[in-house]
């Protein structure tokens, strides 16, 4: 079911977009041609790293390759066409935000949004979320795609951003793509890619989104010329960050506003830009935490709102932005750690977090000891439970269950010297492999080899049945 959804969405991506936006049809065709042209190059590379979850990952590989080709296509058209592309994208997102609904045929983005939403509740939905964030981005070199695909944290971030942002986006599509690293890495990348250009991304309220999208699209045309040079440099970077996802913000979403600010502040680390911002913004002082923000004039720099009566020099702004970041993350941690809703204050909150992490670590140790005392009184029938399909997650456990479920029987005990080295072999296996899919085949082999030795090593009733009864 999930696969069908993914496939249908990827199909929609590859087909001509309806002329809902004002973009030229030429760009569409160009995109499609680029699609098909590039589609073949990526899948085999992607599939290498996606085999671990079988069919679903293959689907996602297609999906991802389609998206990456999508993503890379905007860079191909001539310089003049880029702004057109950007305006088209912005216009499309403006239509998205207006509708508030997700209709797959309408555009790439809506299609991806629906992918995100439809797969939101499915457990293994991280790859589409990845695609969602990648789609608005720039040329992503194929080398970075496996890294993308392998990062559930990234998927989570992307999903959060995308799900929060059903609304329009601004001219950040121009030259950035979401990195596969965590937010911190993205921040550092942003700071590192200062020269790659600044992107302005003011959040907008729901009502005026469409209008401001239009404004922004017009402004983006000018700012694109400035960004073009820096964009070329930005392309060279392996992972760049997208503020597009970040800056898509629901009007009522305070979290997203703060996230947008974080992105903005991260991108705009330069003092000069901040001074510019403060100069502009101080004329429009507003409550920082209000959800309904009037539309800001889209500029080339990051906007940081100054509070009423607060200093607007660069240092305090940066400090405030940093504090916002930290408080946002603490809020997220508060959601994670159970029973922290009533707690206020950083110190107590940190206390709770520390206690929770410690308790989790202790639980892991506890459980590992408990598993160590498990006593197998087993009888084996090898054909029944040797896992043939190493890609299936369930099989090892089923095999163990089958093994454990059998009654004890006598087997000659034979000691095989190479067993002790399995752990070393296992951990050594992990080192040279970046792709997660590389692990299952080795594990499958190990499983089969060791299971055989296990079979031979169990005795029947001679095993004493002493095990601790530990309360969980």
């Amino acid at each position: 079911m999930e696969k069908d959804t993914f496939f249908s969405i990827s199909n929609k991506l590859e087909f001509p977009l309806p002329p809902s936006s004002s973009s030229s049809p030429m760009n569409h065709h160009h995109h499609q041609q680029q699609h098909q042209h590039q589609h073949q190059h990526l899948p085999e590379f992607l599939h290498v790293n996606w085999t671990h979850s079988g069919d679903q990952s293959a689907t996602n590989g297609h999906f991802e390759s389609a998206l990456s080709s999508l993503v890379s296509s905007p860079t191909a058209p001539p310089v003049a066409g880029e702004s057109v592309v950007i305006r088209e994208l912005i216009g499309r997102l403006g239509s998205i935000c207006n509708s508030g609904e997700i209709s797959p045929p309408s555009s790439h983005f809506t299609g991806n949004h629906s992918a995100a939403n439809s797969c939101y509740s499915t457990p293994l939905s991280s790859p589409p979320k990845l695609n969602l964030s990648m789609m608005a981005g720039n040329l992503i070199p194929p080398a970075s795609l496996p890294a993308f695909s392998g990062d559930p944290g990234f998927a989570e971030r992307a999903a959060r951003y995308s799900c929060f942002s059903g609304k329009s986006n601004y001219n950040q599509f121009s030259r950035v793509s979401l990195s596969s690293k965590s937010l911190k890495a993205m921040d550092s990348m942003l700071e590192g890619s200062q020269m790659a250009g600044k992107v302005s991304s003011p959040p907008t309220p729901m009502e005026t989104e469409f209008k401001t999208a239009q404004e922004v699209s017009s402004v983006s045309g000018e700012s694109n010329s400035r960004k073009r040079k820096s964009v070329m440099k930005g392309k060279a970077k392996e992972t760049t960050t997208t503020t597009s996802i970040v800056n898509v913000s629901k009007g009522g979403e305070e979290d997203e506003n703060v996230y947008a600010k974080r992105w903005k502040s991260a991108e705009d680390g330069k003092t000069k830009a901040e001074e510019n911002n403060s100069g502009e913004v101080s004329g429009q002082k507003q409550g920082k935490d209000s959800n309904a923000k009037p539309p800001e004039p889209p500029k080339d720099y990051i906007h940081v709102r100054a509070r009423r009566g607060q200093a607007t020099d660069s240092h305090s702004l940066a400090e405030r932005v940093r504090r916002e970041k930290i408080s946002k993350r603490m809020k997220f941690l508060q959601d994670l750690v159970p029973g922290c809703n009533k707690v206020t204050g950083k110190a107590v909150m940190l206390d709770e977090i520390i206690n929770y992490v410690q308790s989790l670590q202790r639980q892991v140790e506890f459980l590992s000891m408990k598993l160590a005392t498990v006593n197998p009184r087993l009888e084996f029938n090898m054909e029944n439970f040797i896992a043939k399909d190493t890609h299936s997650m369930v099989h090892p456990l089923e095999a163990a269950a089958a093994a454990a479920a059998a009654a004890a029987s006598a087997f000659p005990y034979s000691y095989q010297p190479q067993q002790g080295t399995t752990l070393e072999a296992l951990t050594m296996q992990m080192q040279p492999h970046d792709g997660f899919a590389d692990i299952p085949p080795q594990l499958g082999n190990f499983w089969e080899d060791d299971l055989q030795s296990v079979v031979q090593s169990f005795n029947n009733g001679s095993l004493p049945t002493s095990h601790m009864k530990i309360e969980l």
């Binding site: 890294a147 965590s182 994670l336 992490v357 892991v364 598993l371 456990l397 992990m430 969980l472």
Partner: protein
């Protein structure tokens, strides 16, 4: 809020899936440890045909050793389930370093209490809350693998991801333990 919960569930399910893979390792290790362990290799060879060998399998020493190996397997699963994270890479490095040494517990569970007592003895500075928070941040850094290298913002983010990974791991191991327990007591069989 609902979104974050749903996302959390997604992530946990994903960790579960990834961790089951590592549980494969742990099951292997369990079985392995019954047949041999690093400290018992020689002993078992000597007692190869001795019927008493089974008696050693549940010695406290062997159980502890087995537990450590299972914990290593759990950490492998943890690393595998969350690649691309700073703590994951740091944990991976730690595991590889461990490989050549004793499989000793490296988690500083008592650091918090140590640091707290140190703080009480220390002379409190003017910025009281800042000092307090800094202390706790240090403790958190010691808990999260690779935390010393992170500053506050990224530390929180890594902590969030680490917590989710740990929760997934704990639930997976707990389910496994319950399952095997049930088998032994013949609830299921």
């Amino acid at each position: 809020m609902i979104m974050s919960q749903a996302m959390h569930a997604c992530k946990q399910a994903q960790f579960w899936v990834h961790f089951l893979l590592a549980v494969d390792i742990s099951i292997t290790l369990i079985s392995l440890s019954f047949s041999s362990s690093s400290s018992l290799n020689m002993e078992l060879e000597k007692n190869k045909h001795d019927s008493n060998k089974a008696r050693d399998l549940n010695d406290s020493r062997t159980v502890i050793e087995r537990g450590r190996r299972i914990k290593i397997a759990a950490e492998i699963g943890l690393v595998a389930s969350s690649k691309g994270r700073q703590w994951s890479r740091a944990l991976h490095r730690r595991l590889l370093r461990k490989k050549g040494r004793d499989y000793s517990n490296k988690n500083g569970c008592n650091n918090y209490h140590m640091i707290k007592s140190e703080g009480k003895e220390d002379h409190e500075e003017g910025g009281d809350e800042v000092v307090e928070i800094e202390r706790r941040v240090k403790v958190l850094q010691s808990l999260v693998p690779g935390g010393e290298a992170m500053e506050m913002e990224s530390l929180f983010e890594e902590t969030a991801d680490y917590i989710e990974a740990l929760e997934g791991q704990v639930s997976a191991m707990r389910a496994l333990a319950t399952f095997l327990d049930g088998l032994e007591k013949k609830w299921i069989m």
